[in-house]
């Protein structure tokens, strides 16, 4: 990461976090606190970064100012999905703190997710005070709603895949597009909506977001096995314990012999000693799956870069930042 990129990431993260804490006022108190629990715990704010930098790239500081409520929207939405996913996956820690349902109980966590989903759309009304019209609002809310539908479908496939062994690479790619890519795609498009009225450009931005979103999730799946839990804030091997059919597993199962296959299947979706998970992690490396997944993510990242190079922009620094982001999602260690 260049210093400039890192600084911009920090500035945008602080801007959107401050804005969220200023604008989001839920009640009763317990609901308010449960809703903001994970947001307080941190997070990289990559999605709002994409919204703000995209708007700035295409229309400078004024576009960036109009985009702020949309940037908050995607972060609120993202946190809603984290809360509900943690309930579904029975995860107990995230961002180094207890998940919301552990800290506040299932009922409040469920409701906190619903509240954040509602707020993610409702907060866009502040755009009316910042130069967006109702028409922009309609476009923006539609983009987020379409993404919301896809995200829930992606989560559904993810759950279903845990119980299936016939999942192939295409199934996996479609699932992570829905679950992760769709919201990042929407983030780039929302930055576009705040900046201009040009469906062609907005769709290109969507393609950029889709590519880095899928690359981001592939990297996430890699970090879930090879990452440092201290840096990622997530327990290691939880994907294996839950039987998640990531590209690493799909590729490995296709490469190894029946004997090895059985060994992997006996570990997946079960709570076993860490040694057993570590053996699978080794096997994934040996089978070439790790390399395959890394290459695929890099490829997508490069395609995303080229899309940005083809755009007419007013702020070249913002474009450079978005290009760095495309590399960051595949090179990060957290």
């Amino acid at each position: 990461m260049s210093e400039r990129f890192e600084r911009l990431l920090d500035i945008y993260a602080k801007t959107v976090t401050d804005y969220i804490f200023r604008m989001v006022k839920g009640r009763p108190e317990t609901l308010h606190k449960a809703s903001l629990h994970l947001i307080k715990a941190g997070g990289k704010r990559l999605r709002p970064f994409i919204v703000l930098a995209t708007a700035r790239m295409l229309s400078g500081a004024s576009g960036e100012a109009r985009a702020l409520p949309l940037a908050a929207a995607v972060e609120l939405f993202h946190n809603f999905t984290l809360i509900h996913d943690d309930i579904i996956d029975k995860d107990e820690f995230r961002r180094g703190v207890q998940t919301t349902h552990i800290a506040y109980g299932l009922e409040w966590a469920l409701l906190a997710g619903d509240f954040l989903f509602a707020e993610s759309l409702r907060i866009m009304e502040d755009g009316l005070e910042r130069g967006l019209g109702y028409e922009d609002l309609g476009r923006a809310m539609l983009i987020l709603s379409r993404a919301a539908k896809r995200v829930s479908e992606g989560q559904g496939y993810d759950m279903q895949f845990e119980k299936r062994w016939d999942v192939d690479t295409n199934d996996y790619l479609e699932m992570i597009y829905l679950k992760t890519g769709a919201l990042i795609e929407a983030s780039a498009m929302l930055g576009g909506v705040a900046a201009l009225e040009d469906d062609e450009v907005i769709n290109l931005l969507g393609e950029y977001g889709r590519l880095i979103g899928i690359a981001f999730q592939i990297k996430d799946d890699i970090l879930g096995i090879y990452g440092d839990p201290v840096k990622t804030g997530k327990p290691i091997y939880s994907d294996l314990r839950q039987g998640k059919k990531t590209i690493l597993i799909i590729y490995t199962l296709n490469k190894v012999d029946e004997n090895m296959k059985e060994k992997v299947k006996n570990v997946m979706g079960r709570k076993v000693d860490e040694d057993k998970y570590r053996e699978v992690a080794e096997l994934i490396k040996e089978s070439g799956a790790l390399k395959y997944a890394e290459d695929m993510a890099y490829n997508m990242s490069r395609r995303a870069l080229r899309i940005l190079d083809g755009l007419d922009v007013v702020d070249d620094e913002a474009r450079e930042a978005l290009k760095e982001l495309a590399l960051f999602v595949v090179e990060r260690d957290h």
Copy 2:
């Protein structure tokens, strides 16, 4: 109910139900089925009725046609809240069938709710094919998002009140406005958005919806204790078992002596013999609470009628239907 009103209720219910089944295509299969489980089981479709009749009242058949996606939106949203509320309240039956989390498990029910919430907004895009513009979409989605925020807050208060004894009538009225009134208010406003561009009229419609929404919930609380479970589709006394602080309970606790108060408190929020609940139900009648609640609901219904009388309308039949609806919500037995 007049025959004409009943027929219109049926027609609109069928129209919106068919539309929903045609338009909502979720995946994977389990998510799709879980999402439509309660919608299939029935329901009066009062909220879509309000959307469609309001639009028709103000702008005739063309407004009604534009309003159909918005009518579907409020029904989808309503069903999302039912699914999640049933999880929170641990209810096992609704509309005479198993609740979604009993039929499909917590994880799929949680996700089905999220999916319906997303679809409730996403489906509005079909309005673009029916004469609504992006600007109308922006207004409509904002109305629904604001309601969504309130509904989750209302559910939060409802949960909180179960554990509190200091809830007064104003707390109760605010809570049921948020939990039930806000979505019915939004329904009337959405009909207005499909019909015309006049914030003053749209706000009056909101006031009509708010009043009948609150009246509806008061009646719901009455039916929860005095209704016939076969007709309501809900188990009797579940509000008492869950310790819900309805207006019936609040009023009764204010009227009876300390001795009786303790008796009521010992039953509320506990699973006891049906006899004990029946005694509380008797006491509520004797204390005058039932009469008080019925009067309050009737009053609101009458105020709602007067709002409609003051409007300039193009379809008087639709106005009559909405007036009958205002009476129906307080006179119904299911």
